[in-house]
């Protein structure tokens, strides 16, 4: 998964990427600099419940930006500086996210015959 997000991580101003499940569990995290607190120590369920209907969101704060994008696995949260090229980040997400899909579970008799 890290390779999948490489293009986004290389964009100037990106500080970190997190992928949360719809229930708030951290599926993936990668940061270019240290974060004040480990996101896995916090219960995110209420937050992701609140943004449950959102497909895409762009949050501007005093000292940074957060881009949130709904994927098939959950919510992608990209942490960036105020001056990061957000349009480029969105473009990269458009290109990359179609390949971020849940792993297929084999159906029928095939699942009994391991390769």
């Amino acid at each position: 998964m890290k390779e999948l997000f490489n293009d986004i991580m290389c964009v100037e101003g990106i500080k970190g990427i997190l992928l949360f499940s719809f229930h708030g569990e951290v599926i993936f995290k990668s940061f270019l600099s240290s974060v004040p607190e480990d996101p896995e120590t916090r219960d995110w369920a209420l937050f992701f419940d609140a943004i449950n209907k959102i497909k895409e969101s762009d949050l501007i704060f005093e000292d940074g930006r957060i881009y949130i994008r709904r994927t098939e696995l959950g919510f992608l949260v990209i942490l960036m500086s105020s001056f990061a090229p957000v349009a480029l980040v969105r473009l990269n997400c458009d290109v990359l996210l179609p390949s971020l899909k849940p792993a297929k579970t084999s159906k029928g008799l095939g699942r009994f015959f391991k390769r």
Partner: protein, 339 residues
């Protein structure tokens, strides 16, 4: 992207043999021919040409006349001179006139092809992208304040066009005989394109003088109207009247936001409505906590796409200010204005 090359020579037999000889490079360029300068000018008007190769001695318009016409009207198109009357003075004159190459007759077709391919390669020194959404890419060019020439080909129709950007501002556009805004509208209506980027812009004068986002929105609207699909799509953004500043004692945040957007973006902002709505306060406070967790300060504004026909931009206040916008609105600009 296959480039269009125009070869101009009054020797019709030579034109035929050049065209045949260059046939093997038809995956790199396609060849148009003219037997005089005036006909070449007509072909330049009707086609998006990437390179001109011209003889010097021709009637009714000679190669120098054509060279100066190209330099004046199509400064981005390189010109290579081929001539049977080569002298150092003439070569010097041609290069002073703007020619990028000079070949004496007789020449080997392969040498001409190599010169042409080398010259055309400069057209894409900034890279080539396949099957991209033109609108999204061009907004990126604007945001990154790029100076470049972008050549685009509509993947569905094969039509070609050129856009000229100076520090992120669209200066000019060309598509066949269309120039300026008319050409830009046409090009912006293409959904999927192949594009090549050249990291220079030869155009000096801004012939567009309009906001890029607005042009893209207008182009989409014109296209929708043409397709007769206007009724099925979300309503086009209404014009936002600029409310005259009225000196009142009470500050009205809605009018203030509405006026700021209208002043900066005019009727192309894509804003449908501005109102106060406290039902968004809960979502905003959840988002504020996300900022607090990462220690990036207070929340200022938020863009939200919930999959509805319109999106929302929220600005934090005692009561949340909600700006309902069309999906194609210039959201980064609106948020920049708000902040």
């Amino acid at each position: 992207m296959i480039k269009n090359v125009l070869i101009v020579d009054d020797d019709k037999d030579l034109l035929v043999s050049i065209k045949e000889g260059l046939g093997k490079y038809n995956e790199t360029f396609s060849v148009f021919t003219s037997d005089n300068g005036l006909d070449a000018i007509e072909k330049l008007k009707k086609n998006t040409i990437s390179l001109v190769v011209t003889d010097l001695k021709m009637v009714p318009m000679d190669g120098f006349g054509l060279l100066s016409h190209v330099m004046e009207n199509y400064p981005d198109i390189p010109v290579i001179i081929i001539t049977g009357y080569s002298t150092p003075e003439m070569e010097n004159l041609a290069k002073k006139g703007g020619a990028v190459g000079y070949i004496s007759k007789p020449f080997i077709i392969k040498d001409l092809a190599v010169k042409m391919i080398t010259t055309l390669r400069k057209e894409a020194d900034g890279g080539t992208l396949h099957n991209v959404s033109s609108g999204m890419f061009l907004q990126l060019v604007e945001m990154e304040q790029k100076t470049c020439t972008i050549r685009l080909e509509d993947t569905s129709s094969g039509r070609k066009g050129v856009l000229f950007f100076k520090e992120g501002e669209l200066y000019d556009a060309r598509m066949n005989d269309l120039q300026g805004k008319d050409a830009a509208y046409e090009i912006f209506s293409w959904e999927q394109v192949v594009l090549s980027i050249q990291n220079v812009c030869q155009v000096k004068e801004n012939k567009i003088q309009s906001d890029l986002q607005g042009l893209i929105l207008d182009a989409m609207r014109v296209k929708d109207e043409k397709n007769g699909a206007a009724e099925e799509l979300p309503a086009a953004p209404e014009n936002i009247p600029v409310i005259e500043e009225v000196k009142t004692e009470k500050y009205d945040p809605v009018s203030s936001v509405r006026n700021s957007i209208a002043k900066n973006l005019g009727d192309r902002s894509g804003v449908e409505d501005v109102y106060l709505d406290s039902s968004w306060n809960g979502l905003l406070s959840h988002m504020s906590r996300l900022g607090a967790f990462f220690k990036i300060g207070e929340i200022k504004s938020v863009f939200v796409d919930t999959g509805e026909p319109h999106n929302f931009i929220l600005k934090k206040g005692e009561e949340t200010i909600v700006i309902s916008v069309s999906p194609k609105c210039p959201r980064d600009k609106i948020m920049h204005i708000l902040n």
